[in-house]
């Protein structure tokens, strides 16, 4: 599949087809995660009719992969109506959830929808560590029970973990725990700044020494190496897109604002008015598409390019789209000492 998928992604990028869309349905959440990228009080949410119109438009635009998240998407009473419509339109739907609201009935309904995958956030194999991150007592127990219900119902479940100071010692055991639940696993050491530009949450992330230590875990080192390889050889990258953002992927906020990526908070217009097509083709989106490595002044000649995941959005949140992302510099420095360059 990877080779075919690469070809499809390349074609989508060339044709400006939004193959992959991340759609957050709500700002609301029953958890209060310390590292959440959404502002506490977002402005408005799309109505059911607006969401349904959007996904119709996305189907017509060529979107195949649809990641639905929040906030906690299960807080929307119309979630199943939206999922059913998305499946009727033949999307590959991934639902990202904290799982705490998934009882036997909900698990059964989800199993009947032929979703591609359920992503469930779980930050540790230990309840006290997880609950301290979600700031929702009992959430670990409920999330674990949800994973068990979902896998028992035949759904593919992936445990999604973010590595922070609060759970740094638990990464390997959390991976093993996910496996014991019948779930796959992914781990990201990036704490994303909030969508409103607030960067204080990034203080929760690992420092250089902690990153180096964490990368002794072969699984995390492998995840990071794959990310670097996905960026291609340095010379090729100079003439190609920096990443998929705006080329074949994008993010839609609960209020219907279109962004190139969840980590690139540059609003390109509303998908409700005038509509997705216009926002996707906006000048702001074109400006992102035009970015090349040669445009990143501070990265020219950097010896760490081969181990760098260079995110323009993280750089923008530090004040300059074409400047450095110190978060990526940190990761690239740690990676360079741990893994062989791609």
């Amino acid at each position: 599949m990877p080779q075919i998928l690469d070809e499809v992604c390349e074609k989508a990028a060339r044709q400006r087809i939004p193959l992959t869309v991340h759609l957050d349905l709500t700002w609301r959440c029953n958890a209060h995660c310390i590292h959440c990228y959404l502002p506490d009080h977002g402005a408005g949410e799309m109505t059911t009719a607006q969401v349904l119109r959007l996904i119709e438009e996305l189907a017509g635009a060529g979107t195949l992969f649809l990641l639905i998240s929040g906030g906690e998407a299960l807080l929307r009473p119309d979630l199943f109506e939206i999922l059913e419509r998305a499946r009727a339109l033949s999307f590959a739907v991934v639902l990202k959830t904290n799982g705490t609201l998934i009882d036997d009935h909900a698990a059964g309904r989800l199993a009947g929808l032929s979703l591609y995958r359920l992503d469930v956030s779980l930050y540790s194999h230990r309840a006290e560590v997880h609950d301290a991150i979600t700031r929702l007592p009992g959430s670990w127990q409920r999330s674990v029970r949800a994973i068990q219900r979902l896998t028992a119902a035949g759904l593919k479940v992936r445990v999604v973990n973010v590595l922070m100071k609060a759970n740094i010692g638990d990464a390997a055991a959390a991976h093993e725990f996910a496996r014991s639940l019948g779930a796959s696993y992914t781990l990201d050491p990036t704490v994303t700044p909030r969508l409103d530009g607030d960067r204080t949450v990034t203080n929760l992330g690992l420092d250089l020494d902690e990153l180096r230590s964490a990368l002794s875990d072969p699984f995390l080192a492998g995840v990071m190496r794959d990310l670097c390889e996905a960026h291609g050889l340095p010379q090729a990258v100079r003439d190609g897109p920096l990443c998929s953002a705006g080329h074949y992927s994008c993010y839609v906020s609960p209020s219907g604002e279109l962004f190139p990526c969840i980590q690139l908070p540059l609003s390109c217009g509303s998908v409700c008015e005038p509509g997705f097509k216009q926002a996707w083709g906006s000048q702001d989106m074109e400006a992102i598409r035009a970015l090349r490595l040669n445009d990143l002044r501070d990265c020219q000649g950097c010896a760490l390019l081969a181990t760098c995941t260079r995110c323009p959005g993280l750089a923008l949140m530090e004040g300059d789209l074409a400047g450095k992302s110190t978060l990526d510099c940190l990761k690239a420095t740690a990676l360079a000492t741990v893994i062989s360059p791609a």
Binding site: I17, L64, F65, F91, A92, L115, Y116
Partner: protein, 109 residues
């Protein structure tokens, strides 16, 4: 087999992209890409159309000799049915249900 009805499995995601159809089998993550003729067969596989009828449409729309279209359509349909992407049935199928796999088929072959 040529008189069998052909339907799309509910256990896939699919999208027409630049003249091709991209199909993702959700359970296995297997990805298929269909060319123009394959994409047309995919469109025609509505659960109420037989392999013979599909072959006739391919013959008419793509200027393929009728015997060749019949053989090619049958081979294509059987190959995707073996992968669980298409469904074959002696009776018309309920189109575009999403309960997945052979559960959609009556008397699946």
């Amino acid at each position: 087999m040529s008189s069998s009805y052909v339907g799309r499995s509910g256990a896939v995601a699919a999208r027409a992209i630049d003249g091709q159809t991209v199909i993702l089998q959700l359970a296995t993550s297997a990805l298929f890409t269909l060319n123009r003729v394959g994409s047309r067969i995919w469109e025609l596989a509505d659960g109420r159309t037989t392999v013979d009828q599909i072959a006739r449409r391919i013959h008419e729309e793509f200027e393929v000799e009728a015997p060749v279209a019949a053989l090619d359509a049958l081979e294509f349909v059987e190959r995707l049915a073996a992968q669980g992407v298409l469904l074959l049935s002696d009776a018309p199928l309920n189109p575009d249900r999403h309960s997945g796999g052979e559960a959609n088929a009556t008397n699946p072959r």
